[in-house]
Amino acid sequence: MKSKRSINFILQEGGIGLILIFIVIIFALTAPRFATLLNFTNIMQQISINTAISVGMTFVILLGGIDLSVGSVLALATILAGKVLITENMSIPAAVVLSALAGIGVGMLCGLFNGFVSVRWKIPPFIVTLGMMNIARGAALQISNSRTIFGFPTSFNKFGTVNLFNVLPSIFLIALALVIIGHFILKYTVFGRMIYAIGNNEEAVRLSGHNTAIYKIAAFAFCGFTVGVAAIMYMLRLNIASPILGTGFDMNAIAATVIGGTSMSGGKGSMVGTFLGACIIGVLNNGLLLIGLGDNARQIVTGFIIIFAVVIDTYRVKFANRTE
């Protein structure tokens, strides 16, 4: 019994973890200065935002949906939060709290909208979130008049570069907290179990008398929430808010989720897998540069490794099915 469980673990989260460890060892042996605490701190800093977004993305993909609007919504959330943060005549703690509420609030609202529209009119999330991608981007440009917002309070900026024990960046801890919350919800709450069930067979869940709509809308709202948090993390890390940021963030989050073993058709996947997926992308980005690959070679190799990881995953699934 125990050995069956450990085999299952390796076949689930463990498999992608082994790939990550393998990549880390290769870089540690070949890339100068890769295996240093300073560099690991750097990598953690760099994967934080993608990790946060991927937590929400995992919820949506587990339902069999997708969210293409995360990058634009992130930009809109930074603009609103940024505007609040530089409001004059407000004490800094009040401004920071209101700013965080504004950013997270607008993220959740956009998520609610995505979820509600796609559920109410049975529109594929692909289309609804594509629409939201344009709405949020346009709104961000309009509100900011296409300008970068800067000049945040010094204490706010400082917090973004603080490292716990000199190793763990503050924004990485926020991302980690989101991963833990996401993991907890998926594993131990009705909401979480419903997401898997709906992703596997929505009709069956509906026929057994459950209201699937509310869970689906909640999943999109949760995704919006993580994007809102990611927006505040962006501001902490780069000390600006910009209407043009976030292009490509959607694809990075989808990649992290899928590399982490979540099935695009829904119902299968885990939060730990997603986190490991985000780690793999970050480590590749960093390591390939350190071993001295040029821009184009880096892009090609990253592409191959993403495909390779997912191909390996199909074997894992086959094997897991056989052992069941």
Binding site: Q46, G138, R237, L238, N239, N285, L289, L290, D295
Partner: protein, 314 residues
């Protein structure tokens, strides 16, 4: 219900059509200048648009119809904007092409319809022009290479001969990215600097931040960073700061407000202003001269580029 939807549809289409037609209907008899911009999401073009509108209002001779899109690479939208201007029969078109080759046939079409076109900001491709029967075509715009060279030399003077630098490039293939890289390279050669690495961050703040952080790990000995635009300066500067380094000089390009702020704080060394608002004004004036037959539409009318350092901002 179905009928209702259909009526709603008609109303919607009618409203959309009105939206397209009304700017033309509202114009008086001033000559209309169609201005085709690249991305209005880009702070540089936004400044350029506002400057041009303010100038047109003050000058009073022209009605400007400024159109752009929300992405730097949306070539299709530019092509359809060109078509719209041609069928509206505007008096002059001022064009900042999103792609230096793809827009050439549109330019030929406009010229054939008797609408003079002035090419500004990014120069149309010489070979593509030749293939379409135009030997040379007047270009009004900044010398991006010269601007980058000025910024690069400012950095070279600050860190001295043998100084070790990175170049953070713009989008691979973009004309201004290529020109700015050439300018930086020239400064590296002339200032006898050592180029440790030249890599792209696609004009992006966050990407530049990650790239520079990783490069700092690889080459802690670096002394200066040349960024092909100011958005990337913002990311590079944060990476330098996060690494606890205050001995690294950074230069950029575009002169955006956020980087002016960094220069004032001594966290960035210099940037380059290319006076976007003046560029449109110059292009229109040159276009007027062509209409009046005063000049031949050939050659390169250079617009100013200026190095901006702390002295310019105080």
């Amino acid at each position: 219900m179905k009928k209702m939807n259909r009526i709603l549809g008609f109303v919607l289409v009618a409203v959309l059509l009105l939206g397209v037609i009304s700017p033309v209907a509202a114009q008086d008899d001033k000559p209309v200048v169609g201005v085709v911009l690249k991305s209005l999401a880009n702070e540089f073009f936004k400044t350029l648009q506002e400057g041009a509108e303010a100038w047109a209002k003050e000058d009073g001779r022209y009605t400007l119809d400024i159109k752009g899109m929300n992405s730097e690479t949306d070539i299709d939208t530019q092509l359809s904007i060109m078509d719209t201007f041609i069928s509206q029969g505007v008096d002059m078109i001022i064009l900042a092409p999103a792609d230096s080759s793809a827009l050439v046939p549109s330019v030929v079409k406009a010229q054939a319809a008797g609408i003079p076109v002035v090419n500004f900001d990014v120069r149309l491709d010489a070979e593509q022009l030749k293939a379409n029967g135009l030997e040379d075509f007047l270009f009004v715009g900044p010398d991006n290479e010269e601007g980058a060279y000025l910024a690069g030399m400012a950095l070279a003077e600050k860190i001295g001969e043998g100084g070790k630098v990175f170049i953070i490039e713009g989008n691979p293939g973009a004309d201004n990215a290529i020109a700015r890289k050439a300018g930086f390279d020239k400064a590296v050669a002339e200032g006898k600097l050592e180029l440790l690495e030249s890599s792209t961050a696609h004009w992006e703040t966050e990407e530049a931040n990650a790239l520079v952080a990783n490069l700092l790990t690889k080459y802690p000995e670096v002394q200066g960073i040349m960024c092909a635009n100011d958005s990337m300066v913002l990311g590079a500067q944060k990476a330098v700061e996060a690494a606890g380094r205050d001995d690294i000089q950074i230069v950029g390009f575009d002169n955006i407000a956020a980087v002016q702020d960094l220069i004032k704080q001594g966290k960035a060394l210099a940037t380059v202003d290319q006076f976007g608002a003046d560029m449109v004004k110059m292009a229109i004036e040159v276009g007027q001269k062509i209409i009046d037959g005063e000049i031949e539409p050939l050659g390169w009318e250079k617009t100013p580029v200026k190095l901006i350092t702390i002295e310019d901002l105080e």
